[in-house]
């Protein structure tokens, strides 16, 4: 086993991107993601890469648009209000089928909100945050090691499907330190015949289709690709799930807190388990449907006002009661309130 280093989640994200071959980073400051951009500003020159602090989030995402069209691995990062500004660019990236990695280290909202951790951008990330019919692959790490591993994997996913991969994390995971093993492995190199580059024949990377038939076809082709992603890329982790009567659904930071509550419930003889989506899109519907065969009730633990709960209900076709257990505005749930929700669900369902 290689040696572990103690680093912040935000720094792990940056290191993983570099390890994956990203040499173009475009950012704009915002708490709580600043360590990511700061780390890139130190490391990119060492790697003979490009670190560019744009004049706004909108510029940064459009620099990603240009760099990706030129065929290089590139990234931008921000936190919630900044992601709203990037929304137009994300739609354009999708309309051109360009690969990109975009990081959202979430903070409380709406509006300028606060700077403490939140998960209130779930809808924004999973339902498409700009205009038009499109999807992004959304990965939700729950440890600093996963911040590294999922970011490392995200560039190949983006290239494979020519899609934006969003790393949806939050201030808690961005700011915390844990030991990380920086391994990696081989990166797949993708041929990019569609990319514009010097010395090549004319290539057009564009999202404008004035003829409705052509635009319809581009949408249908893109959604055929999205169906393949839904079939092949659903990822989740189960903890104490196999015999669970009460299934707690939680991702990212709140899934860690839920784990403590599940341990406490198990010590009291209650069969509680955790189903943690790692891909928020595609949502791990198959795993939820399977869990619903045995489970009596579901609880969605969120740092939002009830967003993921809708995907849980859809995935299990409302076949079991689903309750919400949440804190918002930068406040994290504590294990006790999740345990209380488990006890209440058990009382009602069993």
């Amino acid at each position: 086993m290689s040696e572990k280093i103690l680093i912040k989640g935000n720094e792990a994200l940056a290191e993983a991107a570099i390890a994956a071959g990203c040499r173009h980073f475009f950012g704009y400051p915002i708490t709580p993601q600043n360590e990511l951009a700061a780390h890139m500003s130190r490391r990119m020159p060492q790697m003979e890469g490009v670190y560019l602090q744009a004049e706004s989030e909108i510029s940064a995402v459009n620099m990603v648009y240009g760099a990706s069209a030129a065929g290089v691995r590139c990234m931008t990062s921000s936190s919630s209000p900044g992601i709203s500004l990037k929304a137009e660019g994300l739609s354009y990236l999708a309309g051109c089928d360009l690969p990109a990695v975009v990081v959202n280290v979430q903070r409380g909202g709406p509006g300028l909100g606060g700077i403490q951790p939140s998960q209130a951008d779930y809808f924004q990330a999973t339902k498409g945050c700009g205009h038009g019919d499109y999807r992004m692959i959304v990965l939700a790490p729950n440890s600093v090691q996963e911040m590294y591993d999922h970011t490392y994997a995200s560039f190949a996913l983006a290239d494979k499907y020519r899609m934006t991969v969003m790393i949806l994390t939050d201030g808690l995971l961005g700011q915390m330190m844990e030991p990380v093993e920086v391994a990696g492995g081989e990166q797949t190199v993708f041929d990019k015949p569609w990319a514009v580059a010097q010395g090549k024949d004319k290539q057009v990377v564009n999202s404008l289709f004035l003829k409705p038939d052509a635009l319809e076809k581009s949408n249908l082709d893109r959604f055929a690709k999205y169906r393949r992603v839904e079939d092949d890329e659903q990822r989740y982790e189960g903890y104490q799930l196999d015999d669970a009567d009460i299934v707690v659904a939680a991702y990212g930071a709140s899934s860690r807190i839920a784990r403590n509550a599940i341990d406490e419930a198990r010590s009291r003889g209650i069969k509680a388990g955790l189903l943690r989506p790692i891909t928020l899109w595609p949502f791990p519907k198959t795993a939820f449907a399977k869990a619903a065969e045995r489970a009596r009730a579901f609880i969605s633990v969120e740092m939002s006002m009830g967003q993921m709960i809708e995907d849980v209900e859809l995935a299990i076709r409302c076949s079991r009661p689903v309750t919400l257990c949440n804190r918002v505005g930068g406040v994290a749930p504590d294990p006790k309130m999740i345990l209380d929700a488990i006890l209440e669900a058990k009382e009602k369902a069993i």
Binding site: L6, L172, M176, E178, R259, D334
Partner: protein
């Protein structure tokens, strides 16, 4: 074994460095560790705190709400967190800066005049590390090798000339 440790004081007292040192101690002992700072306006000259969890099992929540061990470096932290310490836990505080008597009787309390000790021994600025030594003496199985190795990992290369002073501060706190 799981120890949840909260370190709290003013910005500039070395609270985050203190916490990182404990995290490195955990890594030397092959434990699971997490380190979570307060961030935001506090970092710009108000209070600073950080929570460290050391565990032999994977760590769930990194938030330290009810610490097993509290290190209070100033009066506001002492007032805010004394009541949060888990029954049977430990509170270590800088009695140079905190003259108020602790009110809990169900926890172990250790007041150490860390700021005065640091000044008297040429360790100005290292009062926090004296308290870190006191935290180490409240943890199981910490030997000299672990203490030194964690310190080497914790001090940035450019400040390695501070190694001996930091080690001396730790030893004073453990005494």
């Amino acid at each position: 074994m799981e120890k949840r440790i909260l370190i709290a004081g003013f910005g500039g007292q070395g609270v985050l460095f203190f916490g990182k040192y404990l995290a490195h101690i955990g890594m030397e002992k092959d434990l699971h560790v997490s380190w979570l700072p307060s961030y935001g306006p506090e970092m710009r000259g108000g209070t600073a705190q950080c929570g460290v969890v050391l565990s032999d099992a994977p760590i769930g929540s990194p938030l330290v709400v009810e610490p097993d061990i509290l290190a209070a470096l100033n009066l506001p932290s002492f007032l805010a967190f004394e009541s949060k310490v888990k029954a049977g836990g430990t509170m270590i505080y800088d009695s140079t800066l905190i003259s108020q008597a602790p009110s809990r009787e169900d926890i172990t309390v250790r007041g150490i005049p860390a700021t005065r000790l640091a000044e008297d021994n040429g360790l100005k600025g290292l009062a926090g590390m004296i308290l870190a030594g006191a935290v180490l003496s409240a943890l199981p199985d910490i030997d000299q090798n672990v203490i030194a190795a964690a310190m080497r990992d914790n001090i940035p290369e450019r400040k390695m000339d501070m190694f001996d002073a930091n080690m001396k501060a730790i030893e004073m706190g453990m005494a």
